[in-house]
């Protein structure tokens, strides 16, 4: 039986160990901000933080992260995440919105590791997150804006 810390709470998981973390989060824990887009780690809509690093939950069997600390979009409250979300709102980044939880998690993770990312840094970190509405122009600008805001 898998136990996790999810958004600061210890939980014991009923799902079988080979069920992807994505569906455990959504169906068993009712945290629906994390989205399903492809199931094969091609789109990034399912991105969550596992022990402080971004991870595609759709290809992560829940048993493989036993004992881990999971953070989902619902609990993203680091200064980087707050700055990213504020920039997202300022620029009205989302269109349909389905991919945006994953975009925000990835962007916040990037800023935690690279405080002032270049366009190339953004490409390298964000190319795994597909946006079918192609909000990429604004995602890029919002990450730069968030980085500037964090510099204060």
């Amino acid at each position: 039986m898998t136990t996790l810390t999810v958004n600061g709470q210890d939980v014991t998981i009923e799902s079988e160990d080979d069920i992807p973390l994505l569906w455990v989060i959504r169906d068993e824990l009712n945290l629906t901000g994390t989205k399903f887009g492809c199931g094969i780690a091609q789109c990034g809509a399912c991105t969550v933080m596992v022990d402080g690093m971004p991870r595609r939950s759709c290809v992560t069997p829940v048993g493989s992260v036993d004992g881990s600390d999971i953070q989902t979009i619902e609990a993203m409250d680091s200064p980087e995440a707050k700055a990213v979300q504020a920039a997202w709102e300022k620029l009205d980044v989302p269109q349909c919105g389905w991919c945006q939880s994953g975009q925000v998690v990835s962007a916040a993770a990037l800023l935690q590791m690279t405080r002032q990312p270049t366009d190339e840094d953004i490409d390298n970190a964000m190319a795994g997150n597909v946006c079918r509405c192609a909000t990429y122009v604004r995602i890029r600008k919002a990450i730069h804006d968030a980085a500037a805001a964090l510099e204060g």
């Binding site: 080979d18 709102e89 989302p94 269109q95 349909c96 122009v137």
Partner: protein, 723 residues
């Protein structure tokens, strides 16, 4: 969908403001009561009509009859109401309208639906009237309370004031009293010069919840005791189940049942994970006797051969055959366009709860009334016992606008097969989405053009071969005369003065279902016509921009304006190649919106790399320029990724070759060009914006690519053209 269809719908004379003219007492029957419960509007809320609610807490909620899937109707329609109501932007809210074919009809379609980039165009007057009516009733209530003349009352920034007596009141505090006032049928509307909110970059109403994971979509709905259902579907389009073995699937913990439905074999489980695991253990035998078993190579060859068959002449002027035979120079080209999937990020889904003969449904329905009807029929309870929640949807691009109520039928078949009451969530995977048909029609264009000795275009012939989207569906109103404009729109009514012209359509049939895909016929007609024209202009020794301007008919002022504007902002100087960069232009009107684009392209490893796109767009009054820019940016990204990478192919025996984003790949952030948009100032009524950004990008890139490399790409995508 198209201009022609739209006019047909308009000519039915659908009442403009059915909702507005409803007397208060009739609201209970109108469907507005259902809106109130879902909206959590408190007691005593003011509901002047089917489109506006004002609550005691001072929030103003608009009821949006168009589904919100990113194109911005929540924000755009709220702007219209707020403008005429003189509300503050921060008090505005939006919710989705329930299914109600009369109250919430799309005035262009005659039934409730979103599509054809019509949301703003058909709601522009209606929603302004809704806001103006509410304002008039608030003013009347204030005049009565304060016992002052109506004419002395002003409204601004969400406050009702009587200057002379110094009295003021919020909307919320007047809601009760306003509800007692009579509804003005034709309230006066502002002159565009008085607009304060329309034309501003107001923040979108749904951004915050979509940036924090709080927005609730269909797949996020959970009901007590709900089962998740996934369906094993055929690998060949049109195949049906012969037999199946579910013994291994039933052993998967969490799998509750396996049942056959018309769409395939449905696996019912306590969680999505278990349902998917169960489905992977099914063995199914398929009957392909009525399926499409040709390869797409064969289909393309068949369509190509059909181009010489007699079709339907859909536009003709002058004697094109004579013009071509007399021409000093001629050009012929055949274009091949593949099937395409829409691939919205949220795969198709629906939730249905059945209890005591009543069904509640949650889905991103683009024609909610059609789905409700289908659900009521399958379950034998009638549409009147189906309550439809139109959900935020994770994209559509046409996929959720079904010519058949595909998802409503499937989820109700799942409920019916289970028998009895219960709740079920239908989830499609990306594999289901890409292999499931309803593609942009595979299309062949054959074009012939002739020039006289001076380089003037004297003759133009275009034959389009593809399947019909609308004929033989509910959209076919019986007056189509065998023509489906969605198959060839954009190749007719071109803005150019082509003295002898003939456009021919040859309809083909296939078990592969086809559907409108962001900008519909324009997806291929803009490419074929604008790249072919570009080649003709080059043969004639003419500049791509000036050559087009010279060709425009005198009354095509809006086409002229966007083309001149885009040339201006891109600094067009007639040089198609500068260093390692090339520049291509395309002009195309769709959904009554005029768009011109110039693309800056280089050669990166044998594929176009698009660095920047300049755009000029005229969509009438720019209600929210920020949303317009966003839709243009998105439409370009959508069209560019597709032109570069995407084709849906059928292999041996008709098996769909692309299963997921690894083989049907999406444009990514590192491939997205910079986009600069100029919006033409206009007082004309607003027109569409969700789709018109898409058609010009592929031909603009192809024209630049030809300037750079000398290669005319006549088969899309670029990857399969051997580029």
């Amino acid at each position: 969908m198209t201009h022609q269809t739209r006019r047909q719908f308009l000519s039915t004379g659908a009442g403009l403001v059915i909702g507005l003219s409803l007397p208060l007492g009739a609201r209970a029957q109108s469907g507005a009561a259902a809106v109130l419960t879902r909206d959590d509007v408190s007691e005593g809320a003011f509901a002047p009509n089917a489109f506006v609610r004002i609550s005691a807490d001072d929030t103003v909620t608009i009821i949006c009859k168009h589904i919100e899937f990113g194109q911005g109707p929540y924000t755009g329609l709220a702007t219209l109401v707020a403008e005429e109501l003189d509300a503050r932007w921060d008090q505005m809210r939006a919710v989705s309208a329930p299914a109600n074919q009369e109250l919430y009809a799309n005035l262009f379609f005659g039934l409730q639906g979103t599509g054809g980039s019509t949301a703003m165009a058909n709601s522009y007057t209606q929603m302004r009237q809704a806001g103006a009516a509410a304002r008039a009733m608030l003013v009347a209530a204030a005049a009565e309370q304060w016992d002052v003349p109506l004419g002395e009352i002003t409204v601004s920034d969400g406050e009702v004031r009587h200057e002379a007596s110094g009295q003021n009141a919020s909307f919320g505090s007047l809601a009760d009293a306003a509800a007692q006032q009579s509804v003005p049928v034709e309230p006066a509307l502002k002159n565009p010069s008085e607009f304060k909110l329309i034309g501003q970059d107001l923040p979108k109403l749904d951004t915050q919840e979509k940036s924090t994971g709080k927005a609730i979509f269909t797949m996020d709905i959970a009901r007590e005791g709900m089962q998740t259902v996934v369906v094993k579907r055929p690998e060949v389009i049109g195949a049906t189940v012969t037999s199946y073995d579910d013994s291994a699937a039933l052993e998967v913990p969490g799998v509750v049942a396996v049942r056959q439905i018309p769409q395939g074999i449905a696996v019912y489980a306590n969680s999505t994970g278990a349902a998917l695991k169960g489905r992977s253990k099914l063995t199914v035998e398929w009957d392909t006797s009525n399926a499409e078993t040709r390869t797409t190579d064969q289909i393309m060859a068949d369509f190509s051969a059909a181009a010489s068959e007699p079709g339907v002449v859909v536009e003709e002027s002058g004697d094109s055959a004579a013009a071509l035979s007399d021409a000093a120079q001629t050009l012929e080209a055949e274009y091949h366009f593949p099937y395409l999937a829409h691939a919205p990020m949220e795969p198709l889904d629906a939730v249905l709860e059945l209890k005591d003969g009543k069904a509640e449904v949650w889905m991103g329905a683009q024609f909610p009334g059609i789905d409700s009807g289908a659900i009521g029929e399958v379950l034998g309870i009638g549409a009147e016992n189906v309550s439809m929640n139109v959900m935020l949807a994770g994209g559509s691009f046409g996929r959720r606008a079904q010519t058949s109520p595909q998802i409503g039928l499937e989820v109700s078949q799942i409920a019916k097969a289970a028998g009895g009451d219960g709740a079920w969530k239908l989830v499609w995977t990306r594999e289901d989405d890409l292999t499931g048909g309803y593609y942009r029609p595979l299309t062949v264009h054959t074009l012939r053009g002739g020039l006289d000795a001076e380089g003037n275009i004297t003759g133009w012939e275009n034959t389009i071969v593809n399947q019909s989207i609308m004929l033989d569906t509910f959209m076919d109103q019986g007056n189509s005369e065998g023509k489906d404009p969605t198959s060839y729109e954009g190749s007719t009514k071109m803005p150019y003065d082509l003295p002898a012209l003939k456009v021919n359509w040859v309809r083909q049939k296939s078990p592969v279902s086809v559907l409108w895909w962001r900008s519909v016929g324009h997806t291929h007609t803009a490419y074929a016509t604008e790249t072919f024209l570009d080649e003709l202009l080059e043969m004639a020794g003419k500049d791509p921009v000036q050559g087009r301007l010279d060709l425009l008919k005198p009354d095509m002022g809006r086409d002229r304006a966007v083309l001149e504007k885009v040339a201006e902002i891109a600094g067009w100087d007639g040089n198609r190649v500068k260093g390692d960069r090339a520049y291509g232009v395309a002009l195309h009107e769709s959904f009554s919106t005029y768009t011109a684009q110039i693309a800056e392209v280089s050669d990166e490893g044998g594929m176009p790399r698009v660095h920047k796109v300049w755009v000029a767009v005229d969509c009438g009054v720019a209600v929210n320029p920020n949303v317009i820019r966003a839709q243009i940016e998105g439409g370009i990204g959508y069209g560019l990724g597709t032109a570069l990478f995407n084709e849906l192919t059928l292999g041996e025996g008709g098996v769909v070759q692309q299963r997921n984003f690894d083989t049907y790949r999406m444009l990514r952030i590192n491939e997205m060009p910079e986009v600069e948009v100029a919006i033409i100032q206009s007082d004309a009524d607003p027109t569409g914006i969700g789709e018109p950004g898409t058609p010009p990008i592929a031909p603009a890139v192809a024209n630049a690519w030809r300037a750079l490399t000398g290669t005319a790409v006549r088969r899309l995508p670029f990857t399969s053209a051997g580029v």
